[in-house]
Subunit: 340 residues, 4 copies
């Protein structure tokens, strides 16, 4: 794979983006290229110790900094951008998680507004052991809690449609702050292209995250991440999708949470119907008996639900997006052989 | 009132704006000025007869065109912009209302996604009788239905915070597509300023609208509208508010609908507590026994609820925003004497 | 009206009912009869002073005691029960309102569960001036707040369908804890009959209530109430409805709040279509431009929204339920001439 | 285990129950007993072939028949009932799934009411191969789809609190129609006791079910099921919980879906805090980074979300409910040795 195009990019502090859309591209890349990037953590690197309360060290709206956007050559509205995660590795030996006033799933918020005082602010610092593949925090009483790493990106997406510019806190049809643990190494994410060049950005790395991201933050870390990018011309994608070796997944973002569920599962039914040549009601039946339906997050301005179906249940073993996931998996393997 | 500054502006077709934020100002106005503007209808003028189905004559996202934005001199983030509606008059002798596929309160939508076919498309043309102050449509069977006019603007607001640009279909903390029948002649609307110059826009005139805007559209019309604009420096406003001679109102926009209710009523409790010098629980009690809580709309990407309290129930007869509503009401009276 | 049947009933403490359904009738009444009843307040009379916190003086589930149920002779499943409020008068010279832990619209609750402590408990005692028609409470600081009375019943309904028994805290298709200010003197409420005899109960009198009942309670009072009851055989009613001299109203109870809105407005569209002989889309259009859509309450296990249409907008001046409202209004007038 | 008490019970058609609560017990059992029962399918056995549309062969409310209730000796309000699933086996060689008008997650419903016609009715018959452990249906076009069995009970629970009687279609704090695939062989479910004797019922067997139960029904089957029952006196359980060898789980049922998520996750945080002796915020942090949060169902009158935490993440390896799951697992093993 000597012809592999590799683009390496580490943003300076003033190159970080705070939105999807509305930002000029930092680099232009060709379909098939591999991107080696660094992403800052969701706190813009400001939470470094247990005394660093978000309300004191961070300044709204300078949260969830994005690396990018990358202009993908030849990407036009109506195409699909395929983004394969080759590797995601924490770039520091610490990570952190916090409560944030009026943010999180088990607290009142700016939109689920109540007259109660907010939950107290707290910072949990994590030791990151990259060799052991673990992270650990110490509760107020008792021994450290050691958890396996499962690195992922909370945010990845493209510029929105309809001339909109959305905060990097927001997930929607363009991707953005989806906060799904499924966005891990080895998967291919698909995004519908809304503007020329697609304008891919990513950030908000998590060493690991529970489904739902209950407290509003995961084990937040800066990341060294490698992506492989491809284009599926002439194929539209209504909502973000993910393909792994075992699963097809769709991600719906909306409120209330049942609307996020509905969006994801209608898209999965339609995808299955199209791939398998089934009528829509038969696909509804198949999805009804086989779907896995985990939360992504229940804390952002839109909530995100994942609908998953195991490929082994799909009659005829169909191939999605012309085999993009397989091709990008091979690109990733070639990159690993050459570079890692 | 010989010193009255009057700015007159009629946008050409290519000057219409499709977003709040992200657009350069078309004019700069001083606080205290009166604005005479024309606004196109929500269909960009494309629905002219019963055969003009939205899905055929309109092109997404070119809906809800806005007149503006207007740069208000001296408006800084943290200030409040006061916008008084001096008059709102239909500029054509027809108006229209339609169903729109996957849009409306009593149909499945893009976010309340179902596997059913959408409701059928239909166009209702209205005769506008400006002398009689009525609008009339004819059902498929039976006599015309004649309804009194009560003109209002569905959209009015400023540029959003956090570098965002929002479609003119969306209501949020910046205002936008609030679609409240309360936004009528004689009221003063208050918006928190997020960017230099505030960037006020408006559009989406309605000859009348039911609360909730169930079918997704009102009696939609181009409007000749007169506004008086003022600034309340150093006073922030978290969510849009309206003051009439009789009422204070707050407008919350969110999903699910109970969150829109919560946002509006927490803001009303806080406003009453501040104006009346009550503690927050006493204000909660007063609002609980006196609020009127009508829907604005249940069809846009966020839903909007109005919380109203009659001024006569407020102990001490407090004055909001330093008397801006009273001053602007006088400006309006002066304008009417001079110009109408 | 010498033939007027008047049934007088004051429950003893152990005759109070805590559910709709599952309770034996206390009296049998004929259609056309007038009922003079007394209802206890929602606190079962236990809140008598500012120190009577609900969590200390009340015992769950002994809240919202109901007077009844009344067996209506000849009422069968599929019929409609019409209940006209002849008069609603506070029976004591005090009333009260409170916060209740984890109950109310602007607090986290048992179902909108958060990790925050609940809002503090507080009791507001009201003086009831029946001559002046006012109620008054005194905030922690400042003068008393005097508000006009507008008495209503928070709960009224029949036994549920499907063998269910529901707590008197719950509103649903059978009525129950609807908590709508529209349930006032002079209106006729309609309920679909689910079991033999309908089993009508009522309680939870309010001297007045804001729309939404934000803090979870209104100005709660024991009431002397007079009802006139009638039957509309062979006509089913899917959700509670109210008719006043000016309006037709439907009440939807569900969660999230937009579902309560949808239920009420679909029922109003269907009712208008049937009464006016319109097709359903024309009725949708008429409702969209004329509905008033206030909250009833946003604090109970289901939320309740009211959809109202002014009768003057209905082409052909149709009569609902065979003129039951008119007939019962005459019964009420006759009763007043004879008895009051 | 010669002292094992085994109670065998097969209901006749007129012994089936349609509610939780409001029904007299069919048998009394002692804690520690094993129950061998048969449960009818959710259609009351009426769907036997592809022409058996639910709207034609079933009669509302005679759906989701329950076997029981069983009076558990010594169970008092404030105790917890532990129910261990020893085995769940389809009792017929067929199963079925259907759409039901205005029921399901991807359709408008009685509460998410719209003006559209309902989705079409369809029946899918499944062949049940108990030896192979598979079920299979044939789509309108193409080959049969063969899926592995994973039998479970959609409904299991006790009589509700507050004198309520709930339809077997409804899930809530008493259990009922939870429709979670986690309710499978080998787990122990915990329910708070609300009335003397607890009054345990179960039914609605599923050969398998996707998370969310999108179309409203699973692969529905009559079941031969074996349970082991135990009592944890003096320990209350606020919402249904499940323990498996690997996981602790909580089940929240509410609307909107985020409230079901909140209920389940607040209960999990509290359970973890209590078991591990952590403060509530530390438990919030641990749950935030480790929870798995699948849907149970998004189609019933309340929606149900599961919150799961792997036991291996709990510091100190605590034991829940005094080891009830371990003891019942041994009872199950003893029963299997003796009887199977």
């Amino acid at each position: 794979m000597s012809e592999l195009e590799v683009v390496t990019y580490t943003p300076s502090a003033d190159e970080l983006a705070w939105t999807f859309g509305g930002v000029k591209p930092v680099r232009s890349v060709r379909p098939g290229a591999v991107l080696e990037v660094w992403t800052e953590d969701c706190y813009a690197g400001k939470v470094k110790g247990p005394g660093d309360l978000v309300s004191e060290v961070c300044e709204f709206p300078f949260l969830n900094p994005q690396t990018g956007p990358f202009h993908v050559e030849g990407a036009h509205p109506g195409d699909t951008l395929a983004v394969h995660f080759v590797s995601i590795r924490p770039s520091r030996d610490y990570a952190s998680s916090t409560t944030v006033p009026l943010f999180g799933a088990l607290t009142s918020t700016h939109s689920t507004a109540t007259l109660q005082p907010p939950l107290p602010e707290r910072v949990w610092m994590y030791d990151v052991d990259r060799r052991a593949g673990t992270v650990a925090f110490t509760p107020g009483s008792g021994d450290p809690v050691v958890l396996p790493m499962d690195p992922m990106h909370g945010t990845v997406g493209v510029a929105p449609a309809a001339f909109e510019v959305r905060s990097a806190i927001v997930p929607d049809a363009h991707g953005g702050n989806l906060d799904s643990p499924e966005m891990r190494t080895g998967v291919t994410a698909y995004f519908g292209v809304n503007v020329e060049g697609a304008l891919l950005s990513l950030g908000d790395g998590h060493c690991r995250q529970g489904e739902g991201e209950a407290c509003g933050t995961a084990v937040e870390a800066a990341m060294d991440t490698v992506l492989a990018v491809d284009l599926v011309p002439g194929t539209a994608t209504p909502w973000p999708r993910i393909e792994s070796d075992e699963y097809l997944m769709t991600l719906g973002s909306a409120k209330p949470l049942e609307d996020a569920y509905r969006v994801a599962h209608v898209d999965l039914v339609d995808w299955v119907a199209e791939l398998c040549g089934m009528d829509r009601l038969d696909a509804y039946q198949l999805v009804s008996q086989t779907a896995e339906s985990p939360m992504a997050q229940v804390c952002n301005p839109n909530f995100t639900v994942v609908a998953k179906i195991a490929k082994r249940y799909l009659p005829g073993s169909p191939t999605a997006y012309g085999g993009a996931h397989g091709r990008l998996t091979e690109v990733a393997a070639g990159y690993r052989r050459e570079r890692l």
